[in-house]
C-alpha cells in the first residue's frame, strides 16, 4: 500500500505554524537585538499606588533584554516542536513563546524609556471594557442565530442615552439605567427586521449603524451643543476601591480599582459563561442557533427565543455604551464609539463564539490599543499609525484561520420560518 503521500491536514497546519514561529524568532533576533546600535536601559515599573507589597522596578539593557528573550522564545519554539512531534497541542508553549517575543519587542521598542506595566495593563482593561460588553452582545445574538453587525449602533445609543439622561438629571445612576434600554431599542429594530421581515442580517446591521450614527450625531449637533451645560455634562462614576483586593500587587490596581460599570461587567461575564452552558436559557439559545427546526419540533417558539435574546443582547451592549459617557468622560461626542463595535465583533469571532474566548480577545485588543498610546508617548521606532493597525491586522490574521478553524453557530444569520421550506 502506498499511503505515504496522504496528507494529515492537522500536521500540515502545525508545521506551518511552527515555520511562522521560527521566522518570528529570527526577526526578533535580528530586528530587536542585533540591528539596534547601542544598548539603552529599559525600565519596567510595577507599582501604581499603595499596594501591599512593592515590586521593585526592573531595569535591563535593551540589547541584553532583546537577546535573552529572543533566545527564550527559541527555547519555547523547541518545546513546541517537540510537542508537535508527539502530536500534542501547542497551547502552553505557544503562549510562553508569544510572551517572550513580546518582551523582546518591548525591550527594543521602549529602549531608553520607562514603562509602567501595571499602568499598561490597567489602561488596556479600560479600553477593553466596551469591547467586552459589545462582544458579549454579539455572542448572545449570534448564539441564538442572529448576526449582529449593529453592536456599534447599540454601544453608541447606550452612550448617547446615558450621557443625555445623566446630564438632565445630574445623576449618573439615571444615565446607567437608561443606557441598556437604549441598546435594547436598537435591538428591537434589529430583531423586528431580521426575524419578522427576514431582512439580510449583515446588511441590516450595517444600515442600523448608519441610522444610529445619523440620529445621535444629528441630535448632538442640534441639541447637545446648543446648551452643553444642561444636555451634555453628566456626572461620572468614581472608582470604587474594593477593600483588601485592591491592595494586591499588580492585580489590585488593574481589576479592583474600577467603576461600578466594570464590576457589573465581571458579574455579567460570569453569568453568561455559566448560563450559556448550564441553564435552560443557554440550552435553548444554542438550540435555536444551531438547528432551529429541531427546537421547534420540541415545542420551542424559535423566533420568540431569538427575539428575546436579541433584546437581551441590546441591554448588554447598551450598558457597555454607558461606559463612554457616565463611565468615563461625562459628555457625548459624535461617533465617540469610533468603530469599537466592529472590533468587538472581531473579538467575538476571534474568541470562537465563546464567552471567555471573546473576553480574552477583547482584552488583547484593548491591550494593543493601550500599548500604542504608551509607546507613542515614550517614543518608538514604529510610527503610531502602524501601532493603531495592530488590532485590525491581528483580526485579519485570526479570521484567516491561522489561529485554527473558527465555526460559527450553524444557523447564524439564517432567518427561521415556521413549517420548514414548503
Amino acid at each position: 500500500m502506498k499511503n505515504n503521500q496522504v496528507i494529515s491536514v492537522l500536521a500540515k497546519k502545525r508545521s506551518r505554524n511552527l515555520k511562522i514561529m521560527l521566522a518570528l524568532t529570527l526577526i526578533s533576533f535580528v530586528l530587536f537585538a542585533y540591528l539596534p546600535g547601542e544598548s539603552q536601559d529599559v525600565t519596567f515599573n510595577f507599582v501604581l499606588g499603595d499596594e501591599w507589597v512593592i515590586i521593585q522596578s526592573w531595569v535591563i539593557g535593551s540589547k541584553i533584554g532583546a537577546y535573552s528573550f529572543s533566545a527564550l522564545s527559541a527555547l519555547f519554539l523547541v518545546f513546541a516542536f517537540l510537542q508537535a512531534r508527539k502530536g500534542n497541542k501547542l497551547g502552553v508553549s505557544a503562549l510562553a513563546y508569544c510572551l517572550s517575543v513580546f518582551i523582546a519587542f518591548m525591550c527594543w521598542a521602549a529602549a531608553g524609556a520607562a514603562i509602567s506595566v501595571t499602568g499598561l495593563l490597567q489602561g488596556g482593561l479600560f479600553l477593553a471594557i466596551p469591547l467586552v460588553f459589545g462582544s458579549l452582545s454579539g455572542l448572545i445574538c449570534e448564539r441564538s442565530g442572529v448576526i449582529n453587525i449593529a453592536i456599534e449602533g447599540q454601544l453608541l445609543a447606550g452612550a448617547f442615552a446615558a450621557g443625555v439622561v445623566g446630564s438632565l438629571t445630574q445623576n449618573s445612576w439615571a444615565g446607567l439605567l437608561v443606557a441598556p434600554l437604549a441598546g435594547a431599542l436598537i435591538s428591537l429594530l434589529l430583531a423586528t427586521f431580521a426575524i419578522k421581515y427576514a431582512v439580510d442580517q449583515v446588511i441590516l446591521g450595517f444600515v442600523i449603524n448608519v441610522l444610529v450614527i445619523g440620529l445621535t450625531s444629528f441630535a448632538s449637533q442640534r441639541i447637545l451643543t446648543t446648551d452643553a451645560a444642561r444636555w451634555n455634562s453628566s456626572p461620572i462614576f468614581s472608582t470604587i476601591q474594593i477593600p483588601i483586593l485592591s491592595k494586591i500587587p499588580l492585580v489590585g490596581p488593574i481589576f479592583f480599582s474600577q467603576t461600578i460599570i466594570v464590576y457589573m461587567l465581571y458579574v455579567i461575564v460570569a453569568i453568561i459563561q455559566v448560563t450559556l452552558f448550564k441553564s435552560k436559557w443557554g440550552l435553548r439559545m444554542r438550540a435555536v442557533g444551531e438547528l432551529p427546526v429541531a427546537a421547534e419540533s420540541v415545542g420551542i417558539d424559535v423566533n420568540k427565543v431569538r427575539f428575546r435574546n436579541v433584546l437581551i443582547a441590546g441591554l448588554v451592549a447598551g450598558l457597555g455604551g454607558a461606559f463612554f459617557t457616565v463611565g468615563s468622560s461625562g459628555a457625548f461626542s459624535r461617533q465617540m464609539t469610533a468603530g469599537m463595535g466592529f472590533i468587538a465583533l472581531a473579538a467575538l469571532i476571534f474568541g470562537k463564539w465563546t464567552p471567555l474566548g471573546a473576553v480574552a480577545a477583547a482584552l488583547l485588543f484593548g491591550f494593543a490599543d493601550q500599548l500604542r498610546t504608551v509607546l507613542s508617548i515614550t517614543g518608538t521606532p514604529i510610527p503610531s499609525e502602524f501601532m493603531v493597525m495592530v488590532p485590525y491586522i491581528v483580526t485579519i490574521i485570526a479570521v484567516s484561520g491561522f489561529v485554527g478553524k473558527v465555526r460559527a453557530p450553524a444557523s447564524d444569520g439564517i432567518p427561521y420560518k415556521r413549517g420548514g421550506s414548503h
Binding site: 499511503n3 491536514v9 492537522l10 448550564k278 438550540a287 420540541v298 450553524a410 415556521r418
Partner: protein, 505 residues
C-alpha cells in the same frame, strides 16, 4: 389511545398537498401510510405534529377533538414523532437533546440533566438500545440517532408514535431491528403510524395500510396484498418494477481508481484506501448506508475534494490534482447527490442552467462574449429531447418540480461528449414516473458504451441497474459482488460484516 384524522386539507399556494384525508389508528396497532415521494405523507404528519396547520379538517385523540398549533400541543396529547430528518441538535449531547423543550431546572435555574440520564438509561435497557446519554449526537451513527428520537418520544410518554420514512438511512439489518422494536412497542399498547414508500417494509410490519396519491387517500389494503397491487395503487397505473436491460457489452477500462484516500479538513479519514475499476458498457453501483464515504468518493471523481491521495484515472489520465473543468473536459458527466444545492442554480433560468458548464464554448460564446439567444435556442431543443415540463426556458429553475429539475441536470450532463457517467442518488425524492425516466436514460448510456458509476442507497435501484455492486462501509469498499447476491447477504455487507465472496477487485 386512538388517533383520528377527518377530512384534513392543506394547500400551499395553488398546490393541494392534502385533500380531505381521513385516517385512523388505534392502540396496539401499526397503521402504515404508503405513498410515493411528494404524495403528501410528510405534510399530513407535520400537521398532526403541529409543525404545520391544516386549512380544514379535524384531529381527534380518543374521540376528543384537538386544536394543534405547535408541537407542544401534540406532545401534550401524547403524540410523538420520529422525523425523517432527525430533529436533534448535532453539537448537543443525547441528554441535552432529550431535555430540550422540557427542561427541569434546579438551584438558580441550573439545568438538571441527571434525571434525564437515568430515564435514558432505563428506556435504553428496556429496549436494548445501548445509548450513552453523554455522547455528542453528531458523533453517533444514524441508527443510534434514530433511537435517541424514539427514546425521546417514549420519555415524554407518547401513546401515538409517528415514524416518517424511518428506514431511509438504515441498513437492512438495522431496519429489521427497528421493525422488531416497533412490534415490541405495539405490544406495549401504543398506536404506531409508519410512513413509507417501501412496499416490502410496509407489508412486513403493518396491520393496516392506507395508500395516498397526490394528496388523496386512494384506498386501504391489507398487508397480505400483492406488491404489484400496492404499487399500482400508489402510482395510479401498472408499474413495471424491472428495468429492461440487455446483457452488458463490456468495452475497455474507462475508470481506474487505485488506493484512493480522502480526509476532511480536520484530518479525519473519510475514505480509506479504496480501489475499483469501471469498464465501458457497464454499470458499477456503489451501495451502502448513507454517510459511509460514498458522497466523498463521488465528489472526488470530479476533482471537487481537497485532501485526496491515491490515483483516479479516466481513460488512462490522472485526474487527482486536476481542476473541475479539466475533469469535465476529460468526458465525465456528473449528476450530484443534491440537485438543489449542487446541480442547479435555482434563481437562474432553465436555459442558463442547461449551459452552466458549457457557457464559455461555441455557440454560446465567442472571445469572452456571451450570447443569451443562442443559449435559449439550444435550450428549447434540450427541453423537447428530455421531456422537461416547463412553461418557457426563461422560467427560473426553482419553478420546476423535482423530477423536471433532475431532467435538467441530466440534459446538461449527457449532452456533452462523455465517457464516464457519475450519478449520485439520481432518483432521491422523485416520483415513480421520473424514476423510470432516469433509469431508462442511464441504461441507455450504458448500452451506448459508456461507463456508469452509480452511487445509491436504495437497494431497489442498485438491483435494477447494476452490473456489479461495490459495497462501502466506514470509508472502505468491503466487497465487490455480482447483482445475483441476495438481499440478506448484501445487507450484511452494508452493516460491515465481511463475507468470503469477493468477486473481482
Amino acid at each position: 389511545m386512538s388517533l383520528e384524522l377527518r377530512a384534513i386539507t392543506k394547500r400551499f399556494g395553488g398546490l393541494v398537498a392534502n385533500d380531505a384525508i381521513d385516517f385512523a389508528v388505534a392502540d396496539g396497532e401499526i397503521h402504515a401510510i404508503l405513498g410515493e415521494n411528494g404524495a403528501g405523507k410528510s405534510t399530513l404528519m407535520n400537521i398532526v405534529y403541529g409543525l404545520l396547520q391544516q386549512d380544514s379538517g379535524t384531529i381527534s385523540v380518543d374521540g376528543k377533538e384537538l386544536t394543534i398549533n405547535s408541537p407542544l400541543d401534540s406532545l401534550a396529547a401524547g403524540i410523538g414523532m420520529v422525523h425523517q430528518h432527525f430533529m436533534l441538535i448535532p453539537v448537543f449531547t443525547v441528554a441535552e437533546n432529550i431535555v430540550l423543550g422540557h427542561e427541569k431546572t434546579g438551584f438558580f435555574g441550573k439545568l438538571d440533566l441527571a434525571t434525564a440520564r437515568e430515564e435514558i438509561l432505563r428506556i435504553s435497557q428496556e429496549f436494548n438500545f445501548d445509548v450513552n446519554p453523554d455522547a455528542i449526537v453528531e458523533e453517533l451513527p444514524v441508527g443510534i440517532q434514530q433511537r435517541v428520537e424514539i427514546i425521546r418520544a417514549l420519555i415524554y410518554d407518547a401513546k401515538v408514535l409517528i415514524l416518517d420514512e424511518p428506514t431511509a438511512v438504515l441498513t437492512p439489518q438495522e431496519t429489521d431491528e427497528l421493525l422488531n422494536n416497533l412490534k415490541k412497542l405495539r405490544e406495549s399498547g401504543r398506536a404506531i403510524v409508519f410512513i413509507s414508500h417501501k412496499l416490502r417494509e410496509v407489508k412486513a410490519i403493518a396491520d393496516k395500510i392506507t395508500i395516498i396519491r397526490r394528496g388523496k387517500v386512494v384506498g386501504t389494503a391489507s398487508p397480505s396484498a400483492e406488491q404489484s397491487e400496492l404499487a399500482s395503487m400508489m402510482v395510479g397505473r401498472e408499474v413495471d418494477l424491472k428495468v429492461d436491460k440487455e446483457a452488458a457489452k463490456l468495452g475497455s477500462e474507462v475508470l481506474n481508481v487505485q488506493n484512493l484516500t480522502i480526509q476532511d479538513h480536520t484530518g479525519r479519514t473519510l475514505v480509506n484506501n479504496i480501489s475499483f475499476q469501471v469498464k465501458a458498457g457497464e454499470v458499477l453501483a456503489i451501495a451502502g448506508v448513507q454517510g459511509n464515504g460514498q458522497s466523498e468518493v463521488a465528489e472526488a471523481m470530479l476533482g471537487l475534494r481537497e485532501h485526496v491521495a491515491g490515483s483516479v484515472k479516466v481513460d488512462g489520465q490522472e485526474i487527482i490534482g486536476k481542476s473541475v473543468v479539466d475533469c469535465l473536459d476529460l468526458g465525465i458527466a456528473y449528476v450530484p447527490e443534491s440537485r438543489e444545492l449542487d446541480g442547479l442554480i435555482s434563481s437562474f433560468t432553465i436555459a442558463e442552467n442547461l449551459v452552466l458548464d458549457t457557457h464559455m464554448s461555441a455557440p454560446y460564446s465567442k472571445f469572452g462574449r456571451y450570447f443569451p439567444d443562442a443559449v435559449k435556442k439550444v435550450a428549447q431543443e434540450r427541453v423537447a429531447e428530455f421531456d422537461i415540463r416547463a412553461q418557457s426556458v426563461t422560467d427560473t429553475a426553482s419553478s420546476l418540480s423535482g423530477g423536471n429539475k433532475q431532467k435538467v441536470v441530466l440534459a446538461r450532463e449527457l449532452s456533452r461528449p462523455v465517457k464516464l457517467v457519475v450519478v449520485s442518488q439520481p432518483t432521491r425524492g422523485l416520483d415513480v414516473g421520473s424514476i423510470e425516466f432516469v433509469h431508462e436514460r442511464l441504461v441507455a448510456e450504458r448500452n451506448d458504451g459508456k461507463a456508469v458509476l452509480l452511487f445509491s442507497t436504495e437497494l431497489d435501484e442498485v438491483y435494477a441497474l447494476a452490473d456489479r455492486i461495490a459495497i462501502m462501509f466506514k470509508g472502505e469498499i468491503i466487497a465487490i459482488v455480482e447483482p445475483s447476491i441476495s438481499r440478506e447477504e448484501l445487507g450484511l455487507y452494508m452493516a460491515g460484516v465481511s463475507l468470503h465472496a469477493e468477486v473481482s477487485a
